[in-house]
Symmetry: C2
Subunit: 199 residues, 2 copies
């Protein structure tokens, strides 16, 4: 029995409806699978090596997704901002051990759900499966755009794009996280910033 209406669930519902309209009876079965959690700054939503089980819809805060290689070097591949899905999507899909880390850069709130429970609904809710298809397609397109950025543009241009894509974010997180997202060292980002400033 639920007593209060949670505002964030409405946000999630609205997001899903931007993919494809969900029938009310589908939403009625989806909604109870989600519960709200808080993730304090610095905590991990996801750690490498385990198999991911939960998908999370970020409602407040910033999460960074990153890879770490053997020597401990990190590479920030993405920043999650409110109103988007976090979680080890590739691992959820494939069932293989997750390769990415996800860490809260600020205090966060998420709606989390067990991914297996969600996808078990596909059989009887084709509209939900359609949403899942469109989400996968959207993720694919985002990745392709990011690939084009990484491969075709130099660091300075990527920096400008970062500022466009994540307005205001630069002021909220340390610069070395941005450098890592751009694929350069903090040293190099500093050089780029100086070069831009003295013009």
């Amino acid at each position: 029995m639920r007593f209060r209406h949670c505002g964030f669930l409405e946000t999630l519902k609205a997001f899903l409806n931007t993919l494809t309209p969900l029938r009310p009876e589908t939403w009625q079965r989806v909604e109870p699978l989600f519960s709200e959690i808080r993730l304090p700054k610095g905590q991990f939503f996801l750690e490498e090596g385990r198999q991911a089980a939960q998908i999370g819809f970020l409602t407040e805060g910033i999460i960074r997704a990153f890879y770490r290689n053997q020597d401990g070097t990190e590479y920030n591949k993405h920043f999650f901002i409110p109103n988007s899905f976090a979680g080890g999507y590739a691992s959820l899909i494939t069932g293989k051990p997750n390769q990415i880390w996800q860490q809260a850069l600020t205090n966060c709130r998420l709606l989390v759900a067990d991914f297996a429970a969600l996808s078990a609904l596909y059989d009887s809710a084709p509209d939900l499966e359609r949403a899942a298809r469109m989400l996968a397609e959207r993720f694919f397109v985002q990745k392709e755009e990011r690939e084009i950025e990484l491969v075709l543009l130099d660091a300075q241009t990527r920096y400008a794009l970062f500022q466009q894509h994540y307005p205001g974010l630069e002021q909220r997180i340390p610069q070395y996280h941005i450098a890592s997202y751009l694929g350069v060292t903090p040293t190099q980002l500093s050089r780029i910033r100086r070069k831009i400033a003295q013009r």
Copy 2:
């Protein structure tokens, strides 16, 4: 009226069934949408700027997918090998102008279909939509793996991975295409090869 049974359609059917089992009645509606074409070496399957309309299932030959930036520099993002889907997937999905080129590196055969006609079947064929979902998810996972490669590994390691992922391909296409796939110049790939050889 069709007179001959085309062997390649069976290959396509088998591929789709690795995603999810298709009902016979669905396959009956999918099959007639595909027709076989030949693409001679050097020809383009896809050119930048247009909106993509067709999806192609490669049955023979090699196709390279690449980006080209303003100054004409090219970057090979992927090689299609037989038994996989080519086509400007992102453009097909979003309806936006296509950003990538696809060119036959050898004589090729493909089964092509109008993507809109295919996706029009989703409403009445949930099993086909499921296949589409799983294909999108698979593409996403591939992209993520490639991203990890590009970002975490150096050129020499990526070269070794290329040889693993595309066995035999190295002998069939010019080295500068491989260099471009690795994100280095032919000069640099040549240096890497020398370094490997003298050990």
